[in-house]
């Protein structure tokens, strides 16, 4: 693995939401503008911001789950924003997402094993008769049991569902994993387990990760570099140590000040 080349590239990303009305377009809302940053292969990049700062929108644009209004997204030399629908579907095998709300991240009416298997089938990653075994392997790998594959999402706890979410994201054997607030819906002890699992998987599979969060402690724990978002604009980016110890921007300083000092554990 070459350590330092760019895997994901965002250039001057902009997203404007316009409320469509019967006659023309209505009020416009600028969710993101001027977002430029690179994610290096093999690193974990943090995207920090308060709720409503546009961090989720940026993440969705990188995966083209949301169409950018303007700007450029590069993925390992591909121009993600200009790919045909078919080319995009093919590229999706290499980029996956873990959602925040594991409750709605799974279709309530399909067995979870089937949902984890979907990317494998869709990208034709293994012979049909091996899909089942691969799903079981994956479930056990993230700390679940084989027999749970036939259960429905509501039969799992939040932490288990997040493990399922990770299993599904890994099913297509991606290089890039977008983690959208992966732990903020979980209680603290489960958070730690999920984070450890993610770190372990990153090491095993040489994953590149983008971690979207409002939790600075998480960024410090997980990330190499990070960017701070405020009202849709990147106000600061760089190595995590610099951001934490020499914040250049008022917004970053305010975020750091707002963190409660953790009691020594």
């Amino acid at each position: 693995m070459s350590g330092r080349d760019v895997l994901v590239q965002a250039q001057d990303l902009r997203k404007v939401y316009a409320k469509p009305t019967l006659f023309g377009t209505g009020e416009e809302f600028v969710a993101v503008q001027g977002a430029t940053f690179d994610v290096l292969r093999g690193e974990t990049f943090g995207l920090i911001g308060e709720s409503g700062s546009g961090k989720t929108t940026i993440g969705r644009m990188l995966l083209r789950l949301v169409e950018p209004t303007s700007g450029f997204v590069g993925f390992d030399g591909h121009d993600v924003t200009r790919l045909t629908p078919k080319g995009m579907r093919r590229l999706r095998q290499r980029m996956q997402i873990v959602f925040q709300d594991s409750g709605s991240a799974f279709n309530p009416r399909r067995a979870v094993g089937e949902q984890v298997a979907f990317p494998m089938r869709q990208f034709d990653l293994c012979p049909k008769n091996e899909v089942r075994d691969r799903v079981v392997d994956l479930l056990e790998h993230v700390g679940l049991r084989a027999d749970q594959a036939d259960r429905y999402p509501h039969e799992f706890s939040g932490g288990q569902r997040q493990r399922l979410g990770i299993a599904r994201a890994l099913a297509s054997e991606p290089e890039f994993l977008l983690l959208d607030e992966p732990t903020s819906a979980l209680d603290v002890s489960v958070q730690a387990q999920i984070l450890n699992l993610l770190q372990q998987l990153q090491e095993e599979r040489h994953l590149t990760m983008l971690l979207i969060t409002h939790n600075l402690a998480l960024v410090q724990h997980m990330c190499d570099r990070a960017a701070v978002l405020h009202h849709g604009e990147l106000v600061e980016s760089g190595p995590v140590d610099d951001i934490f110890h020499k914040p250049q921007n008022e917004v970053t300083r305010r975020l750091l000040d707002a963190v409660l000092e953790p009691v020594a554990a």
Binding site: R89, R90, R92, F99, P108, E140
Partner: protein, 308 residues
């Protein structure tokens, strides 16, 4: 919660993984649904009632004691329990039981067919408008809103008047008028479900639009449609009766339940309540049975209920 998650990790028999995997039996969905439906006593009874009513209607010529159209004027308006006429006679001296038995042929058809025909159309329109949204989706829903603005009966009369009278045309008219209502239900459900992350996850996994609509959204918007559709079935009987009353539906003397009820209306105040009440009760029971079956199907489709 921590302990369970940890516990499962420990319990998980890695060495025995293969045998566990081999032992897993896929619980087939139809079997689970059937189990859930059977557990719902009200739905089971309702299915029984409707099967009974249907069989009676199908074998009406064998079961009906008298001709449903031929009356004996000398015996008109005899009450319940008249010898030879269990449910009495109507204003033209026709045997009410026989008319009820034959009436199922019209009323049950009119209850079910328009809804069955309108449902797939509404599903298509509602899902497309709800999923793709934007200007086209909005335009479609505004057109449906215009149809909403017409009173149902008026719209049905207009359509039936254009098509001409007759049972088939009435069903077509009723079916068309029901499409906007059912499409609205599907649309709302689709908009709600589309915003959920599992749809995004499917897209991230390379699903095509058709796959998302069919595999992800359709199973989730079916439940409200089924419940709403079955609740309409009872209404259809009454609506068809209304149209008959206005001369564009089932033409008297055909023994439609709705027509029988409205026939009884004229003698109601003279103290002959049974003429309107008996078919009215049958409509009530049938409508209730449709509703309860709808609830049963909804529960049977719900994985929470299947596995609990």
């Amino acid at each position: 919660m921590t302990s369970t998650t940890l516990g499962q990790k420990v319990v998980s028999p890695v060495a025995a993984g293969d045998t566990v995997a081999a032992q897993i039996k896929s619980r087939s969905r139809p079997a689970l649904m059937w189990r859930a439906l059977r557990r719902d006593k009200a739905a089971v009874v309702s299915i029984g009632i409707l099967v009974f009513l249907t069989l009676v209607a199908v074998f009406a010529p064998l079961l009906a004691p008298y001709d449903p159209l031929d009356g004996d004027a000398s015996q008109r308006l005899e009450g319940i329990g008249t010898p030879g006429h269990l449910l009495g006679l109507d204003g033209q001296g026709r045997d009410i039981l026989s008319r009820l038995i034959y009436g199922g042929r019209y009323s049950l058809t009119v209850a079910v067919l328009p809804v069955l025909a309108a449902a797939p159309i509404a599903l298509l329109i509602g899902m497309f408008a709800g999923y793709f949204g934007g200007r086209t989706g909005n335009a479609v829903m505004r057109v449906l809103d215009v149809l909403f603005a017409f009173p149902v009966v008026l719209l049905a009369i207009a359509i039936a008047a254009v098509l001409g009278p007759g049972l088939a045309n009435v069903m077509l008219a009723i079916g068309i008028t029901m499409v906007p209502y059912m499409a609205r239900v599907v649309y709302t459900a689709t908009v709600q479900e589309s915003a959920k992350e599992y749809v995004e996850a499917a897209r991230a996994a390379g699903a095509t639009q058709a796959q998302i609509l069919r595999q992800q959204l359709m199973p989730n918007v079916m439940s409200p449609l089924v419940v709403y559709g079955t609740s309409l079935c009872g209404l259809m009987i009454v609506l068809a009766a209304g149209l008959s009353f206005l001369g564009v539906g089932v033409t008297p003397p055909a023994p439609d339940w709705g027509v029988m009820t409205s026939d009884g209306r004229s003698v109601l105040l003279e103290g002959y309540g049974h003429v309107a009440t008996i078919p009215g009760l049958v409509i009530l029971v049938a409508a209730l049975a449709f509703n309860l079956i709808g609830d049963g199907i909804r529960d049977a489709l719900d994985p929470h209920k299947q596995t609990s």
